[in-house]
Subunit: 317 residues, 2 copies
């Protein structure tokens, strides 16, 4: 089916698209967040939340994306449960690119249950039509459409007739027979790999600390994103070796532990919520991000999928 | 004139656009750089090169862009010549956004000759047609076209009929009656400002250390870019106050001096060269960046204007 992406053009989205940019008191992104109700947020399940504790004690929190890379995520859970990540280190910090961590010796044996060569989980689809609502944020560039699916930045080459020049963000479609892939936005986490057909086990991980390296999309498994604490990685000294690897062993930055929140006592589990992306609230938020006011003289009128800054919040009870 | 941008569609560019991606031994970006001749590079003039020496002794080199922000750049030169920047500090480091430096007290008097309220140099154009050749890299997103003009990343809303779906990078047009603005790519340098009509004097500067914040384009004066040493800024500890400002005076990072290379003895002047962007070599380089091989399984087939990674090299004699 050639036009599988064009399943749903909901009336509320169409109305939204006609909101004038020049209204007297336009909503700011903060206004939208402040007005959001409990139904606009989804919790991060404890089995999808990793707590990485650096040797310094600083904590980095990572949300996993099993919908997009099921086998790689299951491997990462197995490695975390086995305590395999404890005592590894950050070995590579390349400016405007990635921070990478793993076992510097390359000789630490993997625990049982880890799939040594997972499938190439570089895209999803064809998928069931109801499960993956895509809110389109922009089009063109690396993929025909970019947007958010279940809170994740996604690109798709799906064909979807739109009127030329029409503002498109806020339009909700549903991924059906189309393929779609996660996008390497700032803070996304992926699995290092060697040459094809190696897809990486999950023992070596990286995160993006610069302008989205979109040429990596569909070439390597993205498995999640940092939801808090990325500054403990992005501010590390840059490595001076090739590709930003540290040249001396003592430059490596120790990682004390990496634990699944589901393995922690319930009272100790950190709790996060992600703004849902299949809602009118999210569409208003994207609109507000694209049309900043106040200090801004000329609102951009558009927003890159990696500039949406999806609201994610820590919940303290 | 409505179609002022469509002045030149050169035959070589058209031929280039038809180069198949699947040829036996495709050029890599490194191949193109290695094969470039002297004519493919332009020097950075000493009066357009700032040397910022941190309190630690680390050096950061900044190329100025007088073609795009003449008055702001002249202000910066005046401030540098007067030694005004010496002893200021980095006061703000906001993750995935900017590093900002200036006089933390806000009370240091400006030297004579500094224009207190420069014009809003947020775009160029209309301009003479021969002076600004635009090599288009991508289209869509924040502006209709993005590309490089004289070695600088530029967006333009210019109308320019192209065939739908056609690969377009490598096509050279000439900015004529159109307006165009510099783009907030990683490493670009701009002038902090307050509320309109304040455009900033140049006493407060910032650089981008994250995903290109394109919503700033056309809203603030970009005046240059860091050509070497950005890691001395991008790896600084993030500020914990609002907007990433440091909360304690002792957290600020001292800047020892900021000098124009033209003010240094000739033998001490650092020399840099930037790859020219109006050449067949640059078009091949962009093509190679968009179609990475080797480790890559699926070349992207496109490249964002801020992912071009324009080659800039230090020349040591």
């Amino acid at each position: 089916m050639k036009h599988a992406l064009l399943l749903a053009l909901f009336a509320p989205a169409m109305a939204f698209a006609q909101t004038p940019d020049t209204e007297a008191t336009p909503e700011t992104p903060s206004d939208v967040i402040a007005a959001a109700t409990a139904a606009d947020w989804r919790p991060i399940a404890p089995e999808n939340l990793l707590v990485m504790t650096m040797g310094s004690g600083a904590e980095v929190f990572i949300e996993l994306a099993p919908d997009f890379a099921r086998v790689h995520v299951e491997n990462i859970r197995s490695l975390a449960r086995a305590g395999w990540y404890d005592g590894i280190s950050v070995n590579r910090v390349q400016d405007n690119y990635v921070v990478q961590w793993g076992d510097a010796s390359g000789e630490k044996p993997l625990p049982e249950g880890v799939v040594e060569q997972p499938p190439a989980e570089y895209h999803i689809g064809p998928v069931g039509r109801d499960r993956f609502p895509l809110t389109v944020v922009s089009r063109g560039g690396y993929t025909r459409f970019s947007g958010y699916v279940r809170g994740w930045p996604v690109g798709t080459t799906g064909t979807w007739p739109t009127r030329r020049g029409r503002r498109i963000f806020g339009i909700v479609a549903t991924l059906g027979d189309e393929r779609a892939s996660l996008i390497h936005c700032y803070g996304m986490v992926g699995v290092g790999r060697g040459n094809n057909p190696d897809t990486g086990t999950g023992a070596e991980l990286y995160t993006v600390i610069g302008h989205a390296p979109r040429h990596l999309d569909r070439n390597i498994a993205l498995v999640g994103r940092i939801v808090e604490g990325i500054e403990h990685l992005s501010s590390l000294p840059r490595g001076t070796g090739p590709l930003g690897f540290y040249e001396e062993a003592e430059q490596r930055v120790p990682i004390a532990t990496m634990r699944l929140a589901s393995e922690l006592p319930e009272a100790d589990r950190p709790r996060f919520q992600v703004m849902r992306t299949d809602t009118e609230t999210f569409r208003r938020y994207v609109h507000a991000r694209a049309n900043r006011t106040g200090w801004f003289i000329r609102p951009a009128g558009a927003v890159d999928v990696c500039n949406v800054n999806l609201p994610i919040r820590r919940v303290v009870e």
